[in-house]
């Protein structure tokens, strides 16, 4: 009995684990409006959560915001109009990605400007170091005093002998 059960279950488990998730769950295709809700909701911040969009959040307020997005889409508002509505209520904070306008450009361009500036600084410093090291190499060796020169010559002579 136990053996039969195992023999039946093993192929079934293998079959279901091989199927894609949505086939297993028996989900139907998302309607166009749901796709739009998702696209908008992913750009709006859940105001009572820690850096989560209203799409990801399970908070009641986030759910209500998603419902409101859907309601406004059904009324014929465009995604931009809906985002503008939330922006007019909560300000820039509601957008997960800051708008590319005004002082916000500092946020978008700042890291690249700093990276370029840092790279330039590094390049110039390293170039200077390399040039200094090269110049030091080309310089004549330090002079030796007479006593040392005579000793070297004497040693050379003794080797030749």
């Amino acid at each position: 009995m136990k053996k039969n059960l195992i023999l039946t279950m093993v192929p079934l488990i293998l079959l279901f684990s091989a199927l894609p998730y949505d086939v297993m769950a028996g989900t139907v295709e998302e309607e166009e409006i749901d796709l739009q809700v998702r696209a908008i909701a992913k750009t709006l911040r859940c105001t009572i959560c820690q850096n989560e969009s209203i799409w990801e959040s399970q908070a009641p307020l986030a759910q209500q915001m998603r419902d409101l997005v859907k309601e406004r889409l059904m009324k014929g508002e465009s995604p931009n109009q809906i985002r503008a509505y939330f922006l007019s209520r909560y300000g820039d904070y509601i957008l997960l990605a800051p708008q590319k306008s005004g002082l916000n450009w500092l946020l978008w361009a700042g890291p690249f400007v700093l990276l370029a500036g840092g790279g330039l600084f590094l390049y110039r410093t390293l170039s200077r170091w390399v040039a200094q090291a090269g110049a030091e190499k080309q310089e004549a060796p330090p002079p030796i005093d007479d006593r040392l020169r005579k000793r070297i010559e004497a040693e050379q002579h003794s080797r030749e002998d």
Binding site: T47, L61, Q64, M65, L68, R89, G91, G117
Partner: protein, 184 residues
Amino acid sequence: MKTWHFILVLVVAGLLTLFYKGLWGDPRAIPTVLIGTQAPTFSGPEVRTGEMMSMDSFRGKVVLINFWASWCLECRTEHENLLAINRRFSQHPDFVMLGINYQDRLDDAQKYLQVYGSNFDHLRDLKGAISIDYGVYGVPETFVIDPQGIIRYKYVGPLVGPAYTHLTENILQPLLERRSFPSS
């Protein structure tokens, strides 16, 4: 000093100033965009009676709107002060105070009002639409709307201490006086 040294010092000083501001500022303070804008109208059932109420019926009055919930501890802290505000200003014919019950269960909200008492009306925000319209982040939050329907003041947090005094003396009193004596 070379030019780029000067620029580097300026950039670092700017960044340090920003970090300093960020460290010492209030992380909860989010500037509101609603001050000076037309207050959204709304309607909903009264928490205790179920009677439908609408913001439109308060046009031409100074309206104080307080968002609260029974599960909110800070709302309990300010509750006595809210009652005191209404006791003080309700004699004025142009003053109205409204509570908006936020993300709450009806029985919990009713029990809260029964336990702590209330001398003004409270609307239920059934789908969160009123809270979203007023850009509410959490509770308690308080708004003051002038007789022209413009949002004049918003406060996030419990109305206690200096916040209470500021609201009553610097916001409500002058607004109501201007309303009573338009020539002044």
